[in-house]
Structure formats: structure tokens, C-alpha cells
Symmetry: C2
Subunit: 417 residues, 2 copies
């Protein structure tokens, strides 16, 4: 057993013990603990900001890019947001103990499915230190133990935030091992987590595509993630022209770097005003890579390569294509999409329903911007990630996705004939 | 690409296409198709029985044991049960399209989670040819495509049953590739299925421990299964003595070979009548392997080794141990159990609730025999398997466990601020 495997095995065992203890904690205890953690984050302001400055200095010297440095940086305002987010999670309803359904089959038994925590959750993330607090809060709120493994560039910030989170929950006498931070910053620790089946119940990667890809390729533990967000907006022939422009521009340009950003625009060949739609995107600063029909409409468009249809740009670039009806739009999405979020813009309710029934995406939308693909916007109060997998939880995942259920069967002495 | 990988890739692609077509099929079409399949199974009686005789002859010559031969055998009565089971699945309510929940967050969007089929399901099973019809029926009823891989000893029976199933669904113009049978009978075909991620969404193994173990070890596709059914019955100090005897004897002896059979009996040290309880089991033909305290109670008991506590006998043998209260019972179960089904017998409601809250098992029961752990008894109408995993579906799995959901979001032109 290598040091890394042993370390993760020890952390996993401690997490399982903590998880068992947590299952006896009440809703109020978990909420109070998180409020205490939020308070401790504020109390530890100087320590956390100092740790972050040290990370920033080291990262600057090692030549980390500006975007990464920005993700890493914590100032007073950001620290307050982190503390506030923990309080928001504390205020969410506890999913544990919810009775999902109840039945009474003829054998006289009464069956309930009762929501219980998932178990031990491994979170693997990159430079944003706020994930340390976010993931710990969501995990604890739903009764789970978490093992956190952040990026090496953020290790001092993560340690300081982790200390505050643990101090909060320990103040409420909840088990400190419910929130553990992997102190080893080399990649072998990640490898050990990915293979810790039986100890870690699910791995959630939070970060760029290369991280998610590695986790999906190597994991022997179930993974909840999305690799790509190749989101389509299909503007049907009966689309309202103002809605089409507003939705397309927002879906691409509001924030180009998020997974719910539109990457491909499909315009029905019978949509009467494709020109103004393209113009609005271009005027908003978007590059359009189109097929022949698109290129004929506006000289400022460039030619799309085959590769463009499967590219998540995360930049002000969109691929665009003319399609013939809902069928062809769906064929394109089935071939090139990533099962994340796909949108139809139309005033034809029947076409909208057909599109939403047949598109095999975690999220299908009618007359709305794909940028709404977010747990907060979906009313979940928070988000640990978005899943494009088909099992367990799909789309935005918050507290409910961090639970499972058990069957609770009550009898009066029944034996099976 | 080896032949096997190519074969499975081709079957997987065909299955995905069939799955997409099936998602347009109505409840009535799917039910009618299964009724047609049941009719075809009856029409093909001579063909199926003849194919089975051929399998039986080959298996007899190859020295297959009596138990295996019995599992393989189909006579008229068993064929009628197979057809009837398909009709029963046809009569179950279609889970697809069910609205799980609906919300309307302040952004004005209306969100629904709508149940949809899981996708492509791989079933890997051993000698029982009825699984061919069962799994195909459950898969189709919930809108999924299935890829079936049965044991080589049953290949002719499976082919004949598969032909009948496909003829039925084709008669209703549903896609024939929704039910595919792997014709290659060597183990490499199983290996290719286990690695077909992206093509097969979930693998369900049906068979003995060595099959399940291999599937769990090698699969790169999510697996829904249970490896062991080490079920405990804890007789608390306040147990009703008649209930305790009836439940323990039934839990072990009704059928010793099923996964819900009791393997370990935990008796509270303050339970006043342990002797009669042990006597009843021994009189029913059960061997008892006990700790020192148990051995003192009855000279017919033998000593349990450490290994006994983690053994699924599937025979008229039970391990038995004295424990001190709910706590020690739970510690024993946490250490040696398999998260399948664990039972408390007591008249103390508080102890029962505590046991059921803290036991980390897919199924927890109060005052009932663990042999009820079965989808039919749970009112699910059928069962594709029992899951001791924590993700997606837990305990007995039927149609709902073969579905996932999508988020259907309806807007009126909303863009995200």
C-alpha cells in the first residue's frame, strides 16, 4: 500500500465513522453547526486572507495566468460571500428523513422509502477555495461526510477555510472527521481517491475539462459530473423574433465561460428572420462559425469546420447551422450534443412539446435562455454540480442529489408464506 | 478493435437508435407489444421446449449439476409462467412521463422533473432462461432498450425466447433492436459489455456471487447489483417470543437459498427465552454456529469461526451471537453486514425506530421476516434485482429504478439577468 493509498484509506475510514455519527444528528444541530462555521469564517478573516496572500504570491511566482489568479483570490468581500453561502445552505430544508412514498401491500407490511444521506463524498477541485466551504456545507447539511481535495495552488487558503469549517461543527459536537481536507497536494492523492471504492461513495469533480476527463477515466468510484456543456438553441420556424434574439444573445453572451452557455445555434430554414438574429449576435461581439446557408446571410460569419459542432468554446464564439424542422434539429443535437441543456424557441406549443420530449438532455427548455441551467435558478438553493450522466441525479444537483433512501418496513410479526 | 468489442459496439449503437425510437412509444403501444410477446411465447411452445431439450442434453453431457440443470429446464408449466410474467409486466403502470415534482422559482420559469427511460440496459445472467423474457419485458415496459447476455448453457432456449419477444414487439411496430441477445457465448463478450460506457448505461448482473463479483470488478459501466445478502435478525430484549420464533425460523428456513434469507441471528443478552428460539431453529433442521454464550444454551450448536460472521451460507446454517442492546447489534451489523436487509424483533417501538434509523441497510424491518425482501412483496409488481449500492436505486428495483428524469423548463422568453 503506498502512502497515498494508506492516507486515503485512513481518511475514508474516519469519514465512514463520522458519517455513522452524523446520521444521529438532527436538522437543528446540522444547521447550527453550519451557522457556527460561517461565524468562524468571519472570525478567522485575518488568518484566511493571510493564507490566501501566501497562495497568491506563490502562484504569481510560478507563473499562474490572470484568470487562474482571479479564481484563487479571496478578499474581504469574497470571504463574506463564502460565509453567507454557508449560512444559506444552513437555511435550506434538510432532505434527510423525508418520506418519499409509503405503501401497504396485501401482506400487511407497511413500507416507506425514507431519504438518508449518501455516505462519504469525495470532492476534487481546482483553484477556487470557496469550494472548500461550499462543498463541506452541502455535504454536512445532507448528513454526509466529505473528503475535500483542492488544488495545490490553493492549499493554504483551503487549510484556513477548512479549519474554520471544522471548528464550527466541532462547536456543535458534530464529528470533526465529517469534513476532511487531503493535505497531500500531489496527483497521486487524487488517484487514491478515485480508487477508494467501499470507502468513498461518490466523487464529484469541480473544475475544467481535463480534470473531469481524468476523473471519469480513472475512477472506480461512481462520478457525478458533466464533461461538456455543448448547449444548443434551436430557433423554430414559428419563433417570436424578439424572443429569439433576446434568448440567443443572452444564452451566448451573458457569461460565455459557464457550462450553460449556448455553443451552437440551430435556425430553422423556414424561420423568417435569420439575418437580424445573426446580426444581433455579431453586434454583441460574438463570432459566428456557420454552414453555407448561414454564411450566405452575413459576410461577417466564417466557415464552421466539422470539429466546431462538437466544441465547447466557452468564449464569444458560436457555431450556427440551418436545419429543417424539429427532426433535423434533434438529429444534430443527438449527434453533437452533450446531454446538458438544449432549448427550443417557438410559439408552436406542439413543436415545443415534441422537442422537449425527444431531446435526450438533462435539461430541456422552451423559450428561455440556457444560462438558467443552474441549481440556484432552479430553486434548489445551491448547487454542488450539474450531472449529464443518466444515473442517480441529472441536471443541477443540490442536497437531494446527495441523498439516497432506505426501505423502512414495519410489520406485526409477519412471516412469508 | 476485437470482434467482441465491435459486436457489442454495433449492438450498442443499434440499441441507442431503438431507444430513441421507443421514447416516442405510448404506454398502450408498449403494453400491447408485451402482450403480443406473451402470446408469441405460447405460440412458439414447441420450438422453445425443443430448444430447451437440446440445451439440457448438452448440459447433461457436460456434467452440469442437478441444481443448475433444474434452473435451466423449461417445461410447459414454466413456459406458461414465463408468458404470464410478461403479461404481468405489461399490466404494470408505465413510469415514463410521470411528473416527479414541479416548481416555479421567482425567475418566472416553470420547472418539472419528468421521468424518462434510463437508456440502454445490459443484463448479464446465468442459466435461467426465464430472465431473457423477464428482463426484456421490464426493460421495454419502462422504455429502455436491453442487451441480453445469458449463459452459454442456455443459448438455444434464450434464442427461442428472444425470437418470440422480438416478434411480439415487431408486431406492434416497435423497434426490434430494443431487445437484443448477444449470440457469442464466450466470456469476452461479457468483457466487452462491461467496458461499453457511452453505449450501455447500466449493467445488471443476475446470478451467483462469482458473476456479480466479476462484473463489479471489471465494469466501467455503472452496475446495479448486490454481491451478498448477509441478512441479520436481531431479537431485542422486549421481543415477543412467539413472533421471534416464527420470524427467525421463516427468515432462515422458508427458502435458504435466496438473498433475503437470514444468515446471522443476534440475540439480546436480556432476551428471556433464547433457548426455545435456538431449539425451534434446530428442530426445523437448521445448524447453528454460535459464540460461547450461544453454545452454552444448547449442546447441539457448534462453534462459530470469525469467518462465519461474514458468510452467506444460502443453506440451513445460521451463525448466532449474543449482543448487548441495540448498539452492539448495530456494531456487529456494520462490521459484518452487506447492507441488504436487517431486521429487529421487539415490542419496544423506540428501540425499533432507533435500529431502523441507524442500520445502514437498503431494507430495515421491524417484526417481519427478511424473506419479504422482494420486489413483488414490496408491491412493485416485479423485480429486476436488488441493489445494495447507494446510488440511483436501493433495495428491490423494478420499473422506476429503470428510469431517470429530465428537467423540463417552460418559459415565456426569459433571459438571465
Amino acid at each position: 500500500m503506498t502512502d497515498h493509498v494508506k492516507l486515503i484509506a485512513d481518511m475514508g475510514s474516519a469519514a465512514r465513522t463520522a458519517f455513522a455519527k452524523l446520521s444521529g444528528a438532527s436538522d437543528a444541530e446540522k444547521a447550527l453547526a453550519l451557522r457556527a462555521s460561517a461565524g468562524k469564517l468571519r472570525d478567522d478573516r485575518d488568518l484566511i486572507l493571510q493564507a490566501n496572500r501566501s497562495d497568491m504570491q506563490r502562484a504569481g511566482k510560478s507563473g499562474l495566468g490572470d484568470a487562474m489568479l482571479d479564481r484563487l483570490m479571496i478578499d474581504e468581500e469574497r470571504l463574506e460571500s463564502i460565509a453567507k453561502a454557508v449560512e444559506n445552505v444552513a437555511a435550506l430544508p434538510d432532505p434527510v428523513g423525508e418520506i418519499i412514498d409509503r405503501s401497504a401491500p396485501p401482506n400487511g407490511l407497511v413500507m416507506e422509502r425514507v431519504r438518508v444521506p449518501l455516505g462519504v463524498i469525495g470532492i476534487i477541485y481546482e483553484s477556487r477555495p470557496n469550494v472548500t466551504a461550499d462543498a463541506a456545507a452541502l455535504g454536512l447539511r445532507s448528513g454526509n461526510a466529505v473528503i475535500l481535495r483542492g488544488g495545490s495552488e490553493a492549499i493554504e487558503s483551503n487549510r484556513a477555510i477548512h479549519r474554520a469549517m471544522v471548528a464550527g461543527i466541532a462547536a456543535e459536537c458534530l464529528p470533526a472527521d465529517a469534513i476532511q481536507l487531503v493535505q497531500m497536494t500531489d496527483r497521486a492523492a487524487v488517484g487514491a481517491m478515485l480508487k477508494a471504492s467501499g470507502l468513498i461513495d461518490i466523487i464529484i469533480p469541480r473544475g475544467g475539462k481535463s480534470l473531469v476527463q481524468r476523473v471519469q477515466d480513472e475512477a472506480r468510484v461512481p462520478v457525478l459530473a458533466h464533461l461538456d456543456g455543448i448547449c444548443h438553441t434551436y430557433v423554430g420556424k414559428d419563433a417570436d423574433q424578439n424572443k429569439a434574439i433576446a434568448i440567443a444573445v443572452n444564452a451566448k453572451m451573458r457569461r460565455t465561460g459557464i457550462c450553460g452557455a449556448m455553443e451552437t445555434l440551430l435556425i430553422d430554414q423556414d424561420y423568417p428572420a435569420p439575418g437580424p438574429l445573426l446580426r444581433a449576435l455579431i453586434d454583441a461581439g460574438c463570432e459566428i462559425r456557420g454552414d453555407d446557408a448561414i454564411m450566405e446571410l452575413d459576410p461577417r460569419t466564417v466557415e464552421a469546420s466539422e470539429e466546431d459542432w462538437g466544441t465547447e468554446y466557452l468564449e464569444p464564439i458560436v457555431s450556427a447551422r440551418m436545419v429543417q424542422g424539429v427532426d433535423e434539429a434533434l438529429v444534430h443535437i443527438a449527434e453533437h450534443g452533450s446531454h446538458h441543456t438544449d432549448v427550443i424557441v417557438t410559439e408552436d406549443q406542439i413543436a415545443a412539446d415534441e422537442f422537449m420530449r425527444r431531446a435526450d438532455s438533462a435539461i430541456v427548455m422552451h423559450n428561455a435562455s440556457s444560462q438558467f441551467a443552474d441549481g440556484g435558478e432552479f430553486g434548489l438553493g445551491a448547487e454542488i454540480g450539474i450531472s449529464t450522466g443518466r444515473l442517480h441525479a441529472r441536471g443541477p444537483v443540490a442536497l437531494e442529489g446527495l441523498t439516497t433512501y432506505k426501505w423502512v418496513v414495519r410489520g406485526t410479526g409477519q412471516v412469508r408464506p
